[in-house]
C-alpha cells in the first residue's frame, strides 16, 4: 500500500470495450475533449461476447476494484449475435458475483454505441463514483514483498491475513 493510499484512494476500474461500438465511443469522447475520471483502464475486445466471465474474476483477483463490460446495443452487434450471448452471460454473472460475496455494484455492463460519447463519459463517471464510495475490493490476492525482509509488525499482519484467507 502506498503512503498516501488511505487518504487519496483512487479505484482501479477495468473496462472491456467492444471494438466496434464502445471503443469507438470512447475515442469520440476523447476527440470531443470530454472529461471523465482517469480511473478507467480500457481493454479493447473484438466483441463484448469475447469477454469470458473469468476475465472479471481474474481482474478482481489481480487488484481491480471495479469492472465494466461495454458493447453494442442489442441488434447492433458487428457479428450480428455476439452481444445477445453477452447479455445472458452477464445477467447471470452479476448474480453469481453477488452470491460469492463480491459487491454487485463493482460490476457493470452497459450498451454504448459508437456515437454515444457522452454516455460513455457518464457511465465511467458513475462507476468511478460508486466504486470509490465502496472502497478497495477485498478480493485482491495479497502478495508479500520478496526482496526485502518485512518488519516484524508486517510479518504478524501478513500471518493474520493468511489466516483470514
Amino acid at each position: 500500500m502506498g503512503i498516501n493510499e488511505a487518504t487519496t484512494y483512487e479505484p482501479k476500474i477495468l473496462a472491456f470495450c467492444c471494438n466496434w461500438c464502445t471503443y469507438t465511443g470512447a475515442d469520440l469522447a476523447g476527440l470531443n475533449r470530454m472529461k471523465y475520471p482517469a480511473n478507467v483502464r480500457v481493454v479493447r475486445v473484438p466483441c463484448s461476447g469475447r469477454v469470458n466471465p473469468q476475465f472479471i474474476l481474474r481482474a478482481f483477483a489481480r487488484g481491480a476494484d471495479g469492472v465494466m463490460v461495454c458493447g453494442c446495443h442489442p441488434g447492433d452487434c458487428h457479428y450480428t449475435t455476439g452481444n445477445y450471448f453477452t447479455r445472458r452471460r452477464f445477467m447471470l454473472m452479476k448474480k453469481v458475483l453477488e452470491f460469492n460475496g463480491i459487491e454487485p455494484q463493482r460490476f457493470h455492463a452497459r450498451w454504448i454505441s459508437g456515437s454515444e460519447a457522452a454516455k460513455f463519459r457518464d457511465a465511467v463517471t458513475e462507476v468511478a463514483q460508486v466504486v470509490k464510495a465502496l472502497g478497495p475490493a477485498a478480493t485482491k490476492v495479497t502478495t508479500q514483498a520478496s526482496s526485502k525482509a518485512p518488519a516484524s509488525a508486517d510479518i504478524e499482519s501478513s500471518v493474520q491475513k493468511e489466516g483470514a484467507l
Binding site: Q54, F90, M91, L92
Partner: protein
C-alpha cells in the same frame, strides 16, 4: 423389493448379457473393504457379474466413465438411475458419447444415503433400454425432502458480509485438486483452462481468491448444463459445499427464463449456448 433382490436381478441380467457377448462389459458398483462404501466396478465376464452390488451406499454416479471409452468394440452396458440417465442425455447432446454404443439398464432409484439424494427430483431414469424393476409409484418431485436448491438457498439467506466470510472459509480449505472437475459428467473440454499453466488463467499459489476464481469459473463452465447429480461434492476430498455454486446458477436461470432442467432429453439446448431476442437486461 429389497436391495438383495435388486442386486440379484442386476447380477443375473449382467451375467446373461456378458454370456451372450452382447456387451463388452457391464458398468456397475462393487463392494469395497468398507461395509458402507461401494465403488465403480467393470464386470467383464459372467463370473465378475456376480460381484456387482447395489445398495443405499452406491453414491457414485457412473456416467463419467463413459467418456473414457468413447469407441467401444461392442456396446457398454451401464446401470443407470435418474442421475446417470440425465448425465447420459447431456453427454449425448454434447457429442461426448453415442447412444448406439450404450445398453442402458434402468434402475428406478429410491435415493442413496447421500444428502443430495434427498433433494433429487428425478429418481427414475429418463432414458433406458430396459428397466430392471418397476418405476417408483410416487412422483419424484413429491418425494424430495429438501428443496431443489437447498445449498444455494442456505447461502442466499446470508448477508453480503456473511457470504464473503462463508466463501473465504470454504475456499481457504480448497486444495484445488480439481476432483470436482474430473468427476463432473458434463465437464468435457479436451484441455482444461486450469491445466494451461503458461497462459496463466489462474494463479498457482494457494490463496482463497485464486481458489474461488477456479471454483466460480468451473461452476460457470458447467452451470447451465448441470444435471444436479452432485458428483462435484461427492468427489471433493475436503467436503466443501460446492454444489451451491451450480445450484445458484440454475436457480438464477430459472428466475430469468422460467422452468429449467437439464438432461431430460438428448436434444436440449443449454441456456448460455443460445439466446432470445427478448432476454432481460435490467441493469445494462
Amino acid at each position: 423389493m429389497n436391495y438383495t433382490e435388486k442386486t440379484k436381478l442386476i447380477q443375473t441380467r449382467a451375467a446373461a448379457l456378458l454370456e451372450a457377448g452382447e456387451v463388452s462389459y457391464v458398468l456397475g458398483w462393487g463392494a469395497t473393504r468398507f461395509a458402507d462404501k461401494t465403488r465403480a466396478r467393470f464386470a467383464r465376464s459372467p463370473e465378475e457379474a456376480a460381484t456387482l452390488v447395489y445398495n443405499e451406499h452406491c453414491t457414485q454416479s457412473l456416467a463419467k466413465y463413459l467418456v473414457d471409452d468413447r469407441w467401444p468394440e461392442t456396446r457398454i452396458a451401464i446401470l443407470a438411475r435418474g442421475c446417470e440417465s440425465r448425465a447420459i442425455n447431456r453427454m449425448i447432446r454434447d457429442n461426448q458419447i453415442r447412444r448406439e454404443n450404450l445398453l442402458i439398464l434402468g434402475l428406478p432409484c429410491e435415493g442413496t444415503d447421500a444428502e443430495r439424494c434427498r433433494s433429487c427430483r428425478a429418481h427414475d431414469p429418463v432414458v433406458y433400454d430396459e428397466l430392471l424393476w418397476e418405476p417408483n409409484s410416487t412422483g419424484a418431485a413429491a418425494a424430495a425432502e429438501l428443496s431443489r436448491y437447498y445449498r444455494a438457498d442456505a447461502v442466499d439467506a446470508l448477508s453480503a458480509a456473511e457470504k464473503k466470510a462463508y466463501w473465504d472459509d470454504v475456499y481457504a480449505r480448497c486444495i484445488r485438486c480439481y476432483a470436482c472437475r474430473n468427476a463432473c459428467p458434463v465437464c468435457s473440454c479436451r484441455e482444461c483452462f486450469v491445466d494451461m499453466h503458461r497462459t496463466g488463467f489462474q494463479g498457482k499459489r494457494h490463496s482463497a481468491t485464486d481458489n474461488q476464481t477456479f471454483g466460480v469459473t468451473r461452476a460457470f463452465h458447467v452451470g447451465d448444463r448441470c444435471i444436479e447429480c452432485g458428483e462435484c461434492e461427492r468427489a471433493c476430498p475436503m467436503g466443501l459445499p460446492i454444489l451451491a455454486q451450480t445450484q445458484k446458477i440454475l436457480k438464477e436461470i430459472e428466475a430469468l427464463a422460467g422452468d429449467y432442467e437439464q438432461g431430460l432429453d438428448a436434444a436440449q439446448d443449454n441456456y448460455l449456448g443460445a439466446f432470445d431476442l427478448d432476454d432481460k437486461d435490467d441493469f445494462m
